[in-house]
Symmetry: C2
Subunit: 460 residues, 2 copies
């Protein structure tokens, strides 16, 4: 048997889908039900210690919607699968011609988002909108979570550069490149992931590993041998044997040396001692890079204590969002059109209530120019403030200029600047005010009453 | 600009690499240093509450090693990158011909592994072994973590089926299919991820979503419309409006109904009440499926309290290993060959000590046939017990029969049965005994002394 890589591709991404999306598609089809429906993708509440989210992943969502297709081979697989044995051939013919023909509105990448605000809103025949659910959630959940986490690490670093070193600990190879993208949007200055540099033009950087130093008989020889090849671009790893001795040997490289990296031990104490050694040897220009299971909390602590660290390499904790490794965005039916009528939809049971109808979000600034509150309203309301959702896809066609990643990153940085500090605290941030408009609240009450009435009348 | 999907492929996986692997490769090349070197991939310690790991991801690691190449376009990208401006053309010519030509030994997928045991051991010219680091770690870290997490959920379920529902919350679309694979190895009975079914033949299953029920004017109509299409295979979601009313309506489907799913609320209380309703309506055969942010701890609690749940759908918590979302496997240089001499290698600094030399692991059983202890030893020692590392790749060629996934899953189930219960406790499991052989300990002491001597003599 040949080993399988389990790669996603334009061809097979259609199957990166939960089976029930396809069985429901078949059931809609067989019932002759394909109402134009709107689904909102949103987060119910923020993960612990998060005061905001940075929207990310829209570009990959758009790619999916513009390109999703089912191949003959895939259709054949489904047709033969026991789950579909009672489904007519007509459905498989439908799948063969399947295209996303709907409309999509979204909050652009890099923009701040808060709970219940639709990051994405899909309006399409329900079969199309339903099939897209799994993929849309998987690209937006992960990148939004990582852009947000990275921005926290960047805030903690107080202007010092943060570099993504996480590929080896990301949840598989694709997660590594998605994390590089999202963490750059969140404010990282670079990544170690070469593919992200190749595909997206993100700055890529690197130092050396312990294995390099261990290959040579003595550490100074290792340092010199690396520097000879990269005379203008050498950041040496000095903690392989003894960090302070390593610092002294690194200093012997001379003025060309760009930096040293410490990857273990007491980073606070070591950074002071290493700085002292470098300075005393006339190497004031040499930067100190710190790495090793860092996160926003540890970086904050280091810098509060004045650690003379110039740059942080952050991996595991950032690309897995270790303290809160899931963003549970959901994708909920909020409206359907039937015979010209618009029917608002919502789920009632228990804690998981959703607001019905197509929506817009207005962000309002205070007199100081800072973000003051958001209002979620019905789509056709015109309120003060800046509307956040923009048209992205209309009738299956792209009607949106996909911004270059540097522009997305810039937007995230600008938006964060306008968010008052209390919402950016690393621990227990204040809750940013998100209101619903009176019309949206009224629509919700009306919809709730109608559902309860229908259930009581029709349900027994 | 066209939206980019950021897919991995046979073509671009070579760039799913940390930049420093390539700059070190260039520096080795320019220094004329390409010693045959051995790197061990292992976990230093188990994540919290884990008493074992299930090895997974080897198949994807093998695929990478057999197929990694650099294209002209990629080489051109690297050549023009500022990081490489001082590197000679010869290195890029070398990259053009780059193949993995080394040897790989590994603990087969599905086998239990413990800290410090090499899951994978790569012996190759150092440039080849070094370049592979990032990718190997990213496929083995994630799948091993998820297979392990899934096995805990499966243990908690005490024989009831556990299904992977996590694709939408996995860290990107590829993570979804990798999680489906790993969680199947860990003992899940099926996945909702269709691609995993298509690529690997894993059983795929699904129920319905709330949006289905909300599309119809009343819930019973929704239930009936779905059942009509899938008369032999209908599991209805009953918590859209009122779970108990939902159960009554579901029962009206009649004897064809296969199951009902509860996705919110108090699963314990609801499962009893739903069971009672179903039984009282003559629907004893109808299974109850529970889902909604479940994990091993919650499932254990539910079943300790006798919840009449027949199957669990587990998503977010399993595919992100939410309580411990990282497995920090490392890839460490342990040996080099130079001019016919074998030189053991190890890192000394601080807490991060590694054992030198090529290794084997023997697993020993007690008189009761249960696993008793593992011994990590030098590769040429012959000890009692079963040796775990097998040859996988020799001279760049596959010399291993890649087992079908069902066989891997079977091995995991069998191995777990032989692991005494105290190591399988969900909370605070006992520590499985892993010893080092006397020869390995002696090698470590000798290597340590030699490094210290060399550093003292050569390092000032």
């Amino acid at each position: 048997m040949r080993p399988k890589p389990l790669f996603l591709s334009d061809e097979n991404m259609s199957l990166a889908v939960d089976l029930y999306e396809l069985t429901m598609a078949a059931a809609y089809f067989e019932n002759g039900v394909n109402y134009r429906s709107t689904f909102d993708l949103f987060v119910r509440k923020l993960p612990k210690n998060r005061g905001y989210l940075i929207a990310a992943g829209l570009e990959q969502a758009i790619h999916y919607l513009l390109n999703v297709r089912f191949t003959d081979e895939q259709i054949d697989f489904l047709r033969k699968h026991p789950a579909f044995k009672t489904v007519s051939d007509d459905f498989f013919d439908y799948l063969r011609e399947f295209r996303f023909t709907g409309d999509v509105r979204a909050i652009p990448e890099g923009e701040l988002v808060f709970p219940e605000e639709p990051i994405l809103s899909v309006t399409a025949p329900i079969i199309e909108a339903q099939i897209a659910e799994t993929y849309l959630l998987s690209v937006i959940n992960y990148q939004t979570m990582i852009a947000t986490k990275a921005s926290r690490v960047v805030l903690a670093a107080r202007g010092r550069g943060v570099v993504d070193f996480g590929s080896r600990r990301a949840h598989g190879p694709q997660a590594g490149v998605l994390a590089a993208r999202a963490s750059y949007i969140g404010g990282c200055v670079a990544t170690s992931n070469v593919l992200a540099g190749y595909e997206l033009g993100i700055p890529i950087v690197g130092t050396v590993a312990h294995s390099w130093n261990m290959t040579f008989d003595d550490e100074f020889e290792a340092f010199k041998s690396y520097w000879k090849v990269f005379p203008h671009n050498t950041v040496l790893l000095i903690d392989t044997y003894d960090t302070l001795e390593g610092a002294k040997k690194a200093a012997r490289i001379g003025p060309d040396l760009k930096g040293v990296r410490i990857d273990s031990g007491d980073l606070l104490g070591m950074s002071f001692k290493v700085r002292e050694i470098l300075d005393s040897l006339g190497m004031k220009h040499v930067k100190i890079v710190a790495s090793g299971d860092l996160n926003e909390y540890k970086i904050d602590e280091l810098l509060k204590n004045g650690a003379p660290i110039d740059m942080f390499g952050v991996g595991t904790e950032m690309v897995t969002s270790r303290d809160e490794p899931t963003l549970s965005a959901v994708y909920k039916l909020v409206e359907q059109e039937r015979e010209g009528r618009v029917i608002p939809k919502m789920k009632l049971s228990d804690e998981k209530v959703t607001y019905p109808g197509k929506k817009q979000v207005y962000r309002r600034k205070g007199a100081d120019g800072m973000y003051r509150e958001d209002v979620i309203c019905c789509i056709d309301e015109r309120l003060d403030g800046e509307p956040l959702l923009v048209e992205v896809i209309r009738g299956g066609e792209l009607v949106y200029r996909i911004p270059p990643i540097d522009q997305v990153r810039e937007k995230a940085m600008e938006s964060l600047k306008m968010l008052p500090d209390e919402y950016k605290r690393l621990i227990d941030p204040a809750e940013y005010p998100v209101r619903k408009s009176e019309r949206l609240e009224a629509l919700r009450r009306r919809t709730e009453e109608e559902i309860l009435r229908a259930e009581v009348v029709g349900g027994r």
